[in-house]
Amino acid sequence: MMINGLEKNLMDSLKIMIVEDEADICDLLSDYLEMKGCKNISKISTGKEANIRIELEKPDVIFLDIQLADNVRGLEVLKKTKELLPNAKVVMMSAYKEEHGQESQELGAYDFLKKPFHTDSVDQVLKRIFGQKEGEN
C-alpha cells in the first residue's frame, strides 16, 4: 500500500536507516515503511554502530531515536551525521520533545516525531521528503 501521490521509483531508490534501541519499534517501523514501498531499509540499535554505518551506507533518510542502547545520545549521532552528510534528512524520535526539540532543530534535524506518534505522521514526513526530492530531480 503506497502513500498516495508518491512516485514508486523514488520510494524504491530511497535509502532509509532506523536507529532505535527498542527492537519491536524498530521492526514495526521497518515493516510499515516496507509496506509503503520502501525497499532499502537498515536497522540499527546503538549510536556507535549508527556512526559507523551512516558513514558507510550514506542513507537519505534516518529515523533516529534520542535514547539509544549504548548511551550514545541520538543528538550526538545527529551532529556527526550533519557534518558527514549535510543533505541527509534526519527525523528525530523521542518522548521528550520539550527537552530535545529545540536542540534537535539547532543541530539540523529535518523533523521531530514525539513518541508515541501515529503512522500518519510518518506518511507526512515521507511526503515532504519525496516532495523535496522530486523538486531536486
Partner: protein, 89 residues
C-alpha cells in the same frame, strides 16, 4: 535506572508499539481484497495479522504495569485529589 523520566519514556514506547501494531494489522488486511484471495494466501495474511495483534495485549499489560508503578510513586508525593488542571495553568 528507574527514574520517573525513564518510566515516562517506557510508557511512550509501549504506546508506540500499540499504535504501530494496530495500524499494521489493519493495513495488512486492507492491502488486499481478502474476498478474492485463494485460501492459502488468505490464511497467510490472516496469520500475519493475528501474529501482530497477539502482541498488542502484552504491550497493553506492560504499559499498565508501568502506569501502576508510576501511580504509586506519584500518589506518595502528590495527593490524588489535587486538581492538576488548575496546577498546570
Amino acid at each position: 535506572m528507574a527514574t520517573l523520566q525513564n518510566r515516562f519514556h517506557e510508557l511512550a514506547n509501549w504506546h508506540q508499539k500499540i499504535i504501530f501494531s494496530a495500524v499494521m494489522a489493519k493495513e495488512i488486511l486492507l492491502d488486499e481484497d481478502v474476498t478474492q484471495l485463494p485460501e492459502l494466501q488468505l490464511r497467510e495474511i490472516l496469520f500475519r495479522s493475528i501474529n501482530i495483534l497477539s502482541k498488542v495485549d502484552q504491550y497493553v499489560i506492560a504499559a499498565d504495569k508501568t502506569i501502576d508503578e508510576m501511580k504509586s510513586f506519584i500518589y506518595k508525593k502528590v495527593s490524588p485529589d489535587v486538581d492538576i488542571t488548575s496546577q498546570n495553568k
